[in-house]
């Protein structure tokens, strides 16, 4: 971070940097760029934690009940370095929880949403800067709740990231169902508060604060995606929050929203009753299905911007792209039941949800075809961000197509809760979103920090990640067809699955390599932060407003009043000699008149 983020009111006092000034500039800052970067660093740290938890899972699946090298002795001295079965359930729960609630959602909306929205629409900041600051600081209680769960009985929550009751609802059902599970619920609730504060702000900012000339249909697709994502959050989150409070009440004051009559758990009968475990699943997925789109729409938007920029060509079908984002969001609210086909839900309802789910693959297909159309006929520049964006398209196809298998109810009976599902969501979330996030970091790093990242290291990082991720995740489809169940600490004692061990070992080796390769990224990131070549305002020769601001932009973002004359994708326009046409450049006849 450079020194240009100096609050104008304290300009005079800037020479003597006081503690209070430092705190208000870098810590409790209300500047959307600082908040975005705070989100970025926090989420990247949790990304490391989540990755380590994933390696724990992979270790157990490849070499079950064997001592973990190096760290095993430190983590589990009482078991002589082995992963205990109850800790395995902690691993799957906390890996997913960390990745979803502390990495993917906050890095997209919190980091990129915050940093990019005002810059891309030509505003000097968010509509509600204080609210924005609070949305970051509400993440900290969540960090402590989720982190603290590791130090409670059971060493972490262990009811799955979906926390299905009664397992999650009763304090006696598992070693982790005491304080750890309560902390998990509090953590999810505070993440929700943070997201809600962010959403309100994003919607207001995008509606109210656009620069002159920035009509809705001149917005970059990133902004459209952020806008729709904020809407999704705002409508879906209250349901999750309510469900969370109901479960807290069940656990703490003995209500029975999710507990039926006559349960006997761990040989002790339960007093409460009159509830329904499936109620939680409906409420949870009513939020969490839209949430999977919250976890991919912004990535789709950013990928669209990167693809157009490095194809040197307008985006193909801008309006169909916008409509399909809206279509995905709308349909996203009526497909949650596809997670419950075998849950015991009314099978008639299952048919309805199947049709809706099939239809949601349609806007995804339209987007894919438009991305291909964008690259077609261009002059492709294979920069690191472009490679990551292209891999997003290639990998999202796999994730989208596997979705169709699971949407088909009879087929889902066979593959539900197997590794086929694990393959599906890693193709959309890791191979899709996480790869898009990498690409976006390479793309907007110059704007965030004023310096370029190293391209060669970036390309090596890309190629190795791409190869190892496919080695890790593609084979999961095959395991899933074989019936290999998810969340099982040791599937090999079932004769049906015992022969699948070697394939799991292959996957674990790929996973370890994939994690190791991220060191290249980390070194590149921190090296470039201090010693990367200076970027200048517009290193990629891109059209968006953010590229007209200084790098990094100072407080208030723009050193001129941006006026927008056209959409953000006019690359290769015949109206200019250059192959790009910034949104702020006056049209040709105006320039001629001036001359």
């Amino acid at each position: 971070m450079s020194t240009t983020t100096i609050d104008s009111h304290t300009q005079a006092a800037a020479d003597e940097m006081t503690v209070g000034h430092f705190l208000s500039t870098y810590v409790f800052s209300k500047d959307h760029k600082v908040i975005g970067i705070q989100f970025l660093f926090s989420t990247l740290i949790w990304f490391v934690v989540g990755g380590m938890l994933a390696l724990g899972i992979r270790w157990q699946l490849a070499w079950p009940w064997s001592d973990m090298p190096i760290i095993g002795g430190m983590l589990f001295p009482e078991q002589g370095g082995q992963i205990a079965p109850e800790f395995y359930t902690v691993l799957v729960t906390m890996h997913a929880t960390v990745m979803i609630f502390l990495v993917i959602i906050p890095i997209l909306a919190g980091a990129f949403g915050n940093f990019l929205i005002p810059l891309m629409i030509g505003a000097d900041d968010m509509a509600f800067p204080t609210l924005n600051m609070l949305s970051y600081w509400f993440m900290w209680p969540a960090f402590f709740f989720f982190g603290g769960a590791f130090f409670c009985d059971g060493h972490g929550a262990a009811a799955g990231w979906t926390s299905y009751p009664p397992l999650s609802d009763m304090t006696t059902s598992a070693p982790s169902s005491g304080a750890a599970q309560t902390l998990w619920l509090l953590g999810v609730t505070t993440v929700g508060v943070s997201s809600m504060l962010g959403s309100v702000n994003y919607m207001t900012t995008i509606i109210q604060m656009r620069a002159p000339g920035m009509t809705m249909f001149r917005l970059p697709l990133t902004i459209w995606a952020m806008f729709i994502t904020a809407l999704l959050q705002a409508f879906a989150l209250p349901v999750l929050t309510a469900a969370g409070f109901m479960m807290l009440a069940d656990r703490l004051i003995g209500t029975g929203f999710f507990l039926p009559e006559g349960l006997v758990v761990n040989n002790s009968p339960m007093a409460a009753g009159g509830g329904q475990p499936l109620l939680w699943q409906h409420l949870f997925w009513f939020y969490s299905h839209p949430a999977v789109y919250i976890m991919i729409l912004p990535a789709m938007g950013m990928v669209s911007d990167i693809l157009a920029c490095f194809s040197r060509k307008p985006i193909f079908g801008y309006k169909p792209m916008v409509y399909s984002i809206c279509g995905i969001a709308g349909l996203g609210f009526i497909v949650w039941g596809h997670h419950m086909f075998v849950s015991g839900m009314n099978p008639g309802l299952g048919m309805t949800f199947m049709v809706a789910t099939m239809m949601i693959a349609l806007p995804s297909a339209v987007k894919t075809f438009n991305w291909l159309g964008t690259v077609y006929g261009g002059k492709v520049q294979f920069t690191t961000p472009m490679l990551f964006a292209l891999s997003f398209v290639s990998m999202f196809v796999i994730g989208g197509l596997s979705g169709i298998f699971m949407a088909a109810t009879p087929v889902d009976i066979v593959i539900h809760d197997t590794y086929f599902i694990v393959a599906h969501f890693h193709y959309v979330l890791f191979a899709g979103t996480a790869m898009a996030v990498f690409g976006s970091i390479y793309f907007w790093f110059p704007k965030m920090f004023g310096r370029m990242m190293n391209e060669t290291a970036g390309k090596i990082h890309f190629a190795l990640t791409f190869i190892f991720l496919n080695g890790t995740f593609f084979t999961m489809h095959i395991l899933g067809v074989g019936g290999f169940p998810r969340r099982l600490a040791d599937p090999y004692h079932y004769p049906t699955f015992s022969h699948l061990l070697t394939m799991n070992q292959f996957m674990t080796v790929c996973a370890i390599c994939m994690v190791a390769v991220q060191i290249i990224f980390a070194v590149n990131f921190f090296y470039s932060l201090f010693w990367g070549p200076k970027a200048g305002r517009n290193p990629w020769r891109a059209n968006g407003l953010e590229w007209q601001a200084p790098s990094p932009p100072g407080h208030g973002n723009f050193d001129f009043q941006p006026i927008v004359y056209r959409g953000p994708y006019e690359y290769g326009s015949p109206e200019t000699e250059e192959d790009f046409y910034p949104q702020t450049m006056p049209p040709k006849q105006d320039r001629d008149n001036l001359a």
Binding site: L278, K313, P314, L372, V380, P410, H477, V481, L500
Partner: protein, 275 residues
Amino acid sequence: MGRVWSILFLTVPIFGVWTFVSAMNDWWPMSGGSFAFSSGHWFPSLDVSDHVKDHLFYVILYLTGVVFIGTGAVLFWILWRYDGATNADPVVFSHGSHALEVIWSILPAVVLLFIAIYQMDAWAGARMRRPTMADGAIKPPLCRVTGRQFEWRIQYPGEDGRLDTPDDLHVLNDLHVPVDEEIVIEIESMDVLHSFFLPNMRVKQDVVPGMRQYVWFHPVKEGVSDIVCAELCGWGHYKMRGRITVDNAAEFDRWYSAAYAEQETSQFSLPEEEE
């Protein structure tokens, strides 16, 4: 470099198809590599008359396979052809094509709708049309399976055909069913969610406390296979393993009488640890 990257993206459909095709055709064990994959990386053997779910899987596999290969090939060709380092033609300055958008919206919509409708009969067969007796009455369950942390309690109704009467047979984790007959099983849970998963029968149904549900299948092959719990149910979830034995009618009766006799001598106490 553009060429290298195009080829890297081309490896996705190539390796993807290769992985599926070799798993389907059992081309593993791979010899030579450091990972000797054993054979049988595909569906567990199908021990029921109903192969419709596998068939539906293949229909979707082939349809999506075409899209997978098609988009992969197009992506490769575009990157190869329009590499900025070698492509001398001017950029195609186009904002889209209405006709194309209409085509590539309608076509997938029709295919997806077809897939959805094509599934419905099988779904109704698996979940809604419970097997009936010769006289048209719905078939009573052969037994009740109750999930409990971390075991499957199995209860046969006995002579009187009614559950929860003194002549019931109780066994643990050891389900026996006769071959060549529609089997209906009542499933329940005592505590948390479990999922009654019979990979070889293509049956999976979550068991929910407070809900009585039925699953059915028609085994055609004698043999022993696994009962798997497929829903996270606590620390011991991984060991909640049962066994299903498909016998011919005579063998089934013999097993039943023997198990019943043994239960009578041990005075109705539930067999606690068996395995």
